[in-house]
């Protein structure tokens, strides 16, 4: 059997996936689950299907790999009409990740990840190499996890194995149905960040279902906001949708605080950081006092010998001698992959007024404070609304 990767690739300008008047009527249901849906999914992008519960997201997604056979319409993959071709062969070209993961519990992690290559008839060595490569890619050390069973992994680890399995034979397309829906919020943010980093490497065409608009804004290159019966209310980039919601439905769905939501669009790594007054751990009380005298801030950031942030030191009443032994905890540092929204969250929880940014090695890079975020929101708003901003300026000039 041929390799998945040997299939014809998309010619330029051609959508990777094209849905043409796709319909689904479940037997015995008065209303269709998907009325008529046409959309084009460009190569290499993450397209998010988002909408209220029961609007037909899952049904739409599952029609792409024909886990659910459409009642009408056509599906094109890389320009080829796959509506009635062999479903099993189609599915080997499409990775599939679901919330419940669905790993094979009786097989090891390696067997799970290697299942598609094995079906494609790869030899043992090649499968083993591919499995290790994929485990590395999703951040699981092969030597440690290869021979485990799914029940011996955490939910987040299982989900990574699920992603690795879906990438098995390097399919051009991935379908993901609320892949991080069952993961706790902290780990979800981590998995999302990791997945975005992974996508920079693998550049797959991804259709991603969620009912969480924040996740949609964060993960999507493009978002399709769906209403009942999978009707497209708006299909655009996150920033365009946030700036110009097409109608009341979209506006309602976006919910409160579009400027706060815009913070999800940028990552900490994309902006310039503030610097914050620091002291080395272990310095004398006098040195601390001196550092406080030299700045207006009420907090000093304590760094250890490896330049890693240790905690915050609050300004004490004058005269009291301080030490760096028991600083206030940082709680959780921010990395360059964190979104500005994550950073805002952390600022609000922090003892100080800033989030501490660290590099991959855990070393201190800089900080981000509320003022900085406010300034960014204003700059972006003006960029987004050139006319409104210009009007205001005019008004000011005239007065």
């Amino acid at each position: 059997m041929a390799d998945v990767s040997s299939h014809a690739s998309t010619s330029p300008g051609e959508a990777m996936i094209r849905l043409d008047n796709l319909e689904k009527h479940y037997p015995g249901q008065a209303r269709p689950a998907v009325a008529t849906l046409s959309m084009e999914i460009p190569e290499g992008e993450i397209v998010i299907l988002v909408g209220p519960s029961g609007c037909g997201k899952t049904t739409t997604l599952k029609m792409i790999n024909r886990i659910i056979e459409p009642s009408g319409g056509r599906i094109f993959l890389q320009g080829e009409d796959v509506t009635t071709t062999n479903a099993d062969e189609l599915r080997r070209r499409i990775g599939y990740v679901i919330q419940q993961v669905g790993l094979f519990p009786h097989q090891t992690v390696a067997a799970n990840v290697g299942v598609v290559p094995k079906m494609l008839g790869w030899d043992k060595r090649r499968i083993a190499n591919r499995v290790d490569e994929l485990l590395e890619l999703v951040g699981l050390e092969p030597g440690r996890y290869r021979d485990r069973y799914p029940k011996e992994l955490s939910g987040g680890q299982n989900q990574r194995v699920g992603v690795a399995r879906a990438l098995g034979a390097d399919p051009p397309v991935m379908l993901m149905d609320e892949p991080f829906g069952a993961i706790d919020p902290i780990n979800r943010a981590r998995l999302q960040n990791e997945f975005l980093r992974l996508q920079e490497e693998i550049k797959k065409t991804i259709v991603f279902v969620t009912h969480d608009i924040d996740e949609a804004i964060k993960m999507g290159d493009r978002i399709a906001i769906l209403s009942e019966e999978s009707r497209i209310a708006q299909f655009d980039t996150p920033s365009n949708i946030l700036a110009n919601p097409a109608d009341d439905f979209v506006e309602n769905f976006l919910g409160a605080g579009p400027s706060v939501k815009r913070l999800t669009l940028s990552q900490v790594g994309e902006i310039e950081l503030n610097s914050w007054p620091t002291v080395q751990a272990g310095v004398s009380g006098e040195a601390i006092g001196e550092a406080f005298r030299r700045c207006d801030d009420d907090f000093l950031l304590v760094l250890d010998g490896q330049h890693r942030p240790k905690g915050w030191l609050a300004r004490a009443d004058s005269g009291r001698v301080q030490s760096t032994d028991n600083p206030l905890p940082i709680l959780s540092p921010v990395t360059s992959q964190s979104t500005l929204f994550d950073a805002l969250n952390i600022i609000l929880q922090s003892y100080s007024t800033a989030a501490v940014v660290v590099g991959e090695d855990g070393a201190y890079r800089g900080t981000l404070d509320l003022e900085r975020l406010r300034a960014l929101i204003h700059v972006e708003q003006e960029a987004q609304l050139p006319t409104a901003a210009a009007d205001q300026q005019d008004a000011r000039h005239r007065s």
Binding site: A87, R91, I94, F104, Q107
Partner: protein
């Protein structure tokens, strides 16, 4: 004659009957496993065939064994064949029922993933569904085996092999001292076989259950 000296004098016969009995049961259960698992696999997904198969195999189990063996004489004659035929019929229900239950209990997210990966119907069954249902299926086979160990004693009635011969001989000679020894040795043989097979299945279940789903 005491039971002990009876055993000492007749152990070779008893051993021969025990082995016959064991083989009769194993052959019958093996055939029933093939048929029962196949029936389960073919029907577990659709309600009507599933209910039909369970009803029919359920009825088999309610036929009194003497009556069934007797009824089989006309079409199948005497000896080994009707014995195996009847024992297969009795063993079907537990095997079919557990096959259906086991397959239906497989997590739908797992079968859906298997489908989404591009596994065809039979590959999915062989590599995913049956292995996952296996602990339940083998429990069904174990129950069927124990059931058949007891019923196989009746097979002697239609000239089948096994410990039933001792038991029926004993019953024929009620009133004579040897009757008790015959019936008791036959019965003990049946019990020993049952215990041995039960232990065997416990180990078989353990070793044939994939490590990832062992409790």
């Amino acid at each position: 004659m005491s039971f002990g000296s009876y055993l000492a004098g007749n152990w070779q016969d008893l051993l021969k009957l025990t082995v016959q009995h064991l083989l009769l049961v194993l052959v019958s259960v093996a055939i029933a496993t093939v048929i029962g698992v196949a029936l389960g696999v073919l029907t577990y997904q659709t309600a009507a065939p599933r209910a039909f198969v369970l009803a029919v195999t359920g009825i088999f189990l309610t036929i009194p064994s003497f009556a069934l063996f007797g009824l089989l004489i006309a079409p199948l004659g005497l000896g080994y064949t009707p014995a195996v035929f009847a024992l297969v019929m009795y063993a079907l229900l537990p095997i079919v029922r557990n096959t259906i239950t086991g397959l239906r209990e497989v997590d739908s997210a797992v079968t859906e993933s298997a489908r989404a990966i591009g596994m065809g119907r039979w590959r999915r069954l062989a590599q995913v569904e049956v292995p996952l249902a296996w602990p339940v299926i083998i429990t069904g086979i174990r129950v069927a085996t124990l059931l058949d160990v007891g019923i196989a004693a009746i097979a002697a009635y239609v000239g089948g092999p096994g410990l039933g011969h001792d038991i029926f001989d004993g019953l024929d000679r009620i009133g004579f001292p040897v009757a008790f020894n015959l019936a008791l040795s036959g019965t003990l043989g049946v019990i020993v076989i049952a215990i041995v097979l039960d232990i065997f299945f416990m180990f078989l279940g353990r070793f044939t259950t994939p490590r990832g789903i062992r409790g």
